[in-house]
């Protein structure tokens, strides 16, 4: 029973990590950079959810769409502010790391100014607070939105990469950015789109978390750190890596908390990360680089 409960809890919170990690993965494979403001966009998503669902009384379905659009727009702004100025002058160093972190600080300051620093309560969007799955295993219903969103996002990415020109272009950019640019594809615009999609996914994660952890202007970074660990475990090369990594981090965290205590759960997660990186540096779903000599 304990193990079953831990796995259910792990998949639930792991789906939130997976959503954020999907955003990281999408952006990385298109632009070769990471958006370290993803955590703040999660926070932004939670706070916008509060404003829409609680303050303005917008229905949940409309609220999640607006949150995704607003967070996507914020993601695009991050790209314009933190990435594009560097990319446009051919800066291929890691300066984007600092610039995205700088934007993260700006977003946090903005959020604190607008929404304050007191956590804001967001009631459950639909149905009872929890679903009883038998025994003492419960699942908070907002997590169902998270699990559903991950599956929908994964399917959408898979379909778009196989059947749409934009999807194919993004996939090709991940393999060889310069070749795609030479073929006439506007890789700069692809970058903006990938940041927007990454932002939208982070915003949805914030929407899911708002009734569970409340909308809190300082809460996002810890989720982003674990989501990044999830991506490293799953592998940077595909969106499936982000999803499997997210679930694995969630389950590991939950099992660690169940059998060793909550104060030790991070040790379990990062222990697993280190072991996997030692054995498979490319992550669980990454392909080994084979160099012929």
């Amino acid at each position: 029973m304990e193990l079953g409960g831990a796995v259910v809890s792990g998949i639930a919170i792991g789906s939130v990590y997976a959503l954020i990690a999907l955003g990281f993965s999408f952006i990385y494979r298109t632009t070769g950079s990471f958006n370290f403001a993803q955590g703040q966009i999660v926070t932004f998503g939670s706070l916008i959810s509060y404003s829409l669902y609680v303050s303005a009384g917008v229905p949940a379905l409309a609220a999640i769409v607006i949150v995704a659009i607003a967070a996507g727009a914020l993601g695009a702004i991050v790209e314009r502010v933190a990435i594009w100025p560097l990319a446009s002058r051919g800066d291929d160093t890691l300066t984007w790391l600092i610039s995205t972190l700088g934007v993260a600080v700006l977003i946090t300051g903005f959020a604190e100014r607008v929404w304050g620093t007191i956590p804001l309560g967001v009631p459950n969007y639909v149905g009872p607070n929890v679903i009883h799955l038998g025994g003492q295993i419960n699942l908070a219903t907002p997590y169902l939105i998270g699990i559903g969103s991950v599956l929908v996002a994964a399917a959408a990415i898979e379909v778009s990469q196989r059947f749409t020109i934009w999807g194919k272009a993004m996939r090709a950019t991940a393999d060889n950015r310069q070749a795609v640019a030479l073929a006439g594809v506007n890789v700069i615009r692809l970058g903006v789109v990938s940041f927007a999609i990454g932002g939208a996914l982070a915003g949805i994660a914030g929407f899911v978390l708002a009734p569970i952890t409340f909308a809190d202007s300082t809460a996002g970074m810890s989720f982003a750190v674990l989501a990044f660990a999830a991506l490293a475990i799953g592998g940077f090369a595909s969106h499936w890596g982000a999803i499997f990594g997210g679930w694995l981090v969630g389950i590991t965290e939950s099992i660690g908390g169940t059998y060793a205590g909550l104060q030790y759960q991070d040790i379990f997660v990062f222990g697993v990360l280190i072991v996997i990186l030692l054995i498979r540096p490319e992550g669980l779903t990454g392909s080994r680089n084979v160099r012929l000599v």
Binding site: A6, I118, P119, L120, S254, L262
Partner: protein
């Protein structure tokens, strides 16, 4: 001719003297405006300055601005009631820019030019300024949360802390649990030094009275999933749960306990507050739960605390942080004014002695408690409708004089 020259010389000398006089007057006036005159030499018509050194700007500005707002509200109340010894209070604020090392030199320079009858300073810096304040026999009553730094051998008799911090409220929570006959208790505290202090205080206290801690959990206040900790605690079959988690984590924990269907009396000696739970946890979910602490922790707010919030908002304060931050320093001013008027003195030792010897006297205008609190009588609010509250009372820096006994709120039937 010589007579005219003499008149001209006299006129020139007169103008020179008038000019000198004007300069002297100007310098005197400037000097007077740059520094308030000493409190001990002023007449009853001159205002009485009190000093607040806090973090108005910088990373801790939310704390500092709430301190200033709370003190201003208290000063308004005191002045409307006639002031202190007939003198109107005026607040002098010195901004440490959230650099705690600046508090001591700021206090030193300010008190060098004016004998402030009341000094308050920011929470994290209180430990570093206490020795100077004690040596100078200055009076400090503030929500400075400095008891963890106190040395029992050096109690700093003119320094008072109006905050409820650290393990002391948890002591009272444990006493309350014992008074209800709960001998088997589970404990959930915050990860880190506050939680460690709680556990260190609780273990000997509970075991000395034959009680048992069935399970203890350390939770991150930013944690997401507490279900495993709840399951472990539940499996240890306690009669009550003692908790001390700050802020949103506390609300999150209470929600998860409620959603899990675990019907357990929760008793908190926590520093969380009504403002931390308000809007996060439905009132109905908090029935049977008790918090030991100031009135701002009652949820919904106890009337006096709510009036305080209303007054702050009327004064244009955007109450965005916990009420706790406003109330501690507010009550410092209120207690000072009460004791000074009672003793007809501005002398720090006289006022301190009054506070020490007053027992448990009701002081009008307090928002965090109702009395000086040394004998720790309790108030109870909202026991029937939501989160019940026990007031633990004030304590003096370095001495646990007040939490001697607690009265037990009536829990709803079935608990």
């Amino acid at each position: 001719m010589s007579e005219r020259r003499g008149i001209a010389a006299t006129l020139r000398r007169g103008r020179w003297l008038v000019g000198c006089g004007a300069v002297v007057l100007a310098v005197t006036a400037c000097g007077g405006s740059s520094s308030p005159s000493s409190s001990s030499t002023s007449s009853s018509s001159t205002p009485l300055h009190i000093l607040l050194v806090t973090n108005v700007t910088g990373a801790g500005s939310q704390n500092g601005t709430s301190n200033v707002a709370g003190v201003k509200e208290a000063i308004n109340e005191v002045n409307q009631a006639g002031g202190v010894l007939g003198r109107q209070l005026v607040l002098d604020v010195k901004d440490d820019g959230s650099d705690n090392t600046k508090d001591l030199p700021l206090i030193q320079s300010a008190t060098a030019s004016y004998k402030y009858p009341l000094v308050m300073n920011s929470d994290p810096a209180a430990a570093s300024t206490a020795p100077y304040i004690a040596r100078q026999s200055l009076l400090e009553i503030c929500g400075c949360a400095a008891e963890k730094y106190a040395e029992p051998s050096a109690p700093n008799p003119t320094i008072f802390d109006t905050d409820y911090v650290g393990a002391r409220p948890m002591d009272a929570a444990a006493q309350y649990a014992q008074s209800k006959g709960y001998t088997r208790v589970a404990v959930m505290v915050q990860q880190g030094e506050f939680g460690d202090a709680d556990l260190q205080a609780l273990k000997p206290l509970i075991s000395s009275t034959g009680g048992t801690i069935t399970d203890s959990e350390s939770l991150s206040f930013t944690g997401v999933d507490f279900t495993s900790a709840i399951a472990r605690s539940r499996a240890s079959h306690p009669q009550a749960l003692l908790t001390d988690i700050f802020g949103a984590g506390d609300a999150h924990l209470r929600t998860e306990i409620h959603d899990s269907g675990w019907n357990i009396p929760i008793i908190s000696g926590s520093n969380d507050a009504a403002t931390a739970l308000k809007g996060l946890v439905p009132l109905a979910d908090l029935k049977g739960q008790v918090v030991v602490g100031p009135r701002s922790m009652a949820y919904p707010s106890e009337p006096a605390a709510q009036t305080f919030i209303d007054n702050l908002q009327k004064a244009g304060v955007n109450v965005t942080s916990y009420l706790y931050g406003y109330g501690g320093d507010h009550d410092g001013v209120t207690l000072f004014a009460w004791a000074a008027n009672q003793t007809h003195s501005l002398d720090a030792t006289t006022i301190a002695n009054k506070l020490h010897s007053s027992g448990d006297v009701a002081v009008p205008g307090l928002v965090e408690g109702t009395t000086t609190g040394y004998s720790a009588t309790s108030g109870e609010w909202n026991a029937a409708s939501g989160l019940a509250l026990m007031e633990a009372g004030y304590y003096n820096l370095g001495r646990l004089k007040l939490i001697k006994s607690v009265s037990a709120p009536t829990l709803p039937a079935g608990m």
